[in-house]
Amino acid sequence: MVKYSAGSLFANALHGHKKWPKQWPDAAPKTSYDVIIVGAGGHGLGAAYYLAKKYGITNVAVIEKGWLGGGNTGRNTTIIRSNYLYDESARIYDHAVDLWDGLSQELNYNVMFSKRGVLMLAHSVHDVQSFQRHIHANRLNGVDNQWLSPEEAKAFCPPLDISPGARYPVMGAALQRRAGTARHDTVAWGYARAAAALGVDIIQNCAVTGIKRGTDGAVRGVETERGFIGANKIGVSAAGNSSVLMQMAGLRFPLESYPLQALVSEPVKPVMPCVVMSNSVHAYISQSDKGELVIGAGTDQYISYSQRGALHILEHTLASICEIFPIFKRMRMLRSWGGVVDVTPDRSPILGKTPVPGLYVNCGWGTGGFKATPGAGNLLAYTIARDEPHPINAPYTLERFKGGRLIDEAAAAAVAH
């Protein structure tokens, strides 16, 4: 792998940039691998990378029905944070943030992880109580998260409207300073390049059409558009299409897939220094390094795989944004798009073994999967390599839905009285 640096950039500039090697070769499938990862998003490519890098398994293929990073990895609003309430959540997301920090150097690919801070706004007494609970829990868990008064929030994010007469007045905010954003595509590309350099095959435009199981019930490989590919270990990391793949192995999952939209404005000079989230008003916003306001919208109400959302969702989203940031009302929407998010009943992921021997799953991240990318990749790799979950992802079983030990962050935060 050619090392990327200002020096190599300069050297290549002298050659008219004609000597750069491929970032990853386009592999043709071999007849079999030790491990197959289905889904070349950030999570799946990350799993392949860590399998090769940390767990010494390099005979790995990542199989992707479209182009790598073309699903939710390349369609999200890139928010990274870990100030979650429950121990289980704080651990899994903080593990990811630990890996984000230093990922550019580890991959030798600038993923532009920007620790600009994530500000979560409280708009009611109930929000204040809920956020204080998060902050105290985070403090005792060693996760940074601090309370800001409305004036402190305004100082941290000047465009914010904190007038007390607002429909949803800002009564304070929780700030996680080491949270922020990253450049979504480069995460997939960086993992792909680093994994390929370690011998991982990345096979694009190769939809999996079936999962083959032996007489003992264990997996034997996958049927694809390009023929059968054998493997005794298969990790599925397919976001919105997880239900479809699990059904190929005869499993039904507690998942529903919803359209989620996002949008960007035209680029303007820097105005938003941080990420702002308002769960009560449903507004999620940051400004990209290019100058575009990046805004997360809500999900449509129905199940869909169409990657197509409705106009009224955008209307509500922008009304919320302009309620909190009245100065943005003259900004202009440049582009909107949709992704498919897979949601579990408790809105926490399922990451671990499945009832089918040799089949591992990483799904159910809902609207929050991007922030978990390196963590989910590493934990899926660990689980596959050791055939047992890492302590961090051990609670994220499928079985929790049977016993009732749910990890319900939303329930803990959202119920109004």
């Binding site: 239900s243 129905y302 199940i303 795989y305 409705a310 106009l311 016993g403």
Partner: protein
């Protein structure tokens, strides 16, 4: 915004009059106490989440306030049919006929 035909109102109305109500034809067991945890969890949480022809329920919340069933293609988001609550799940052939 989808256009949805309420089988009770017998009219096509815009989606904002309706509220999605999850997968259809999941019948609440008559005697839940006789079920084991696995079967109960299946009832509570396991969903087909079909990519393609999906059976689902809608609630005409800002209209007649009736729940009804629908068959919709989740790839195109197009409704194939809607029908009243309590009617049996339409057979595949019936759906194929309408799709024609």
């Amino acid at each position: 915004m989808l256009l949805i035909k309420c089988p009770y109102c017998e009219e096509e109305r815009p989606e904002i009059e309706f509220s999605y109500a999850g997968e259809a034809h999941i019948v609440r067991p008559t005697d839940p106490s006789k079920m084991d945890d696995t079967a109960w969890a299946e009832y509570l949480f396991i969903r087909d989440n079909t990519r393609g022809v999906h059976y689902e329920r809608w609630y005409h919340i800002h209209g007649c306030a009736r729940f009804f069933n629908a068959v919709r293609d989740t790839i195109s988001d197009k409704f194939i049919m809607t029908y009243k609550m309590g009617l049996p799940r339409p057979a595949d052939v019936e759906i194929a006929k309408v799709k024609e």
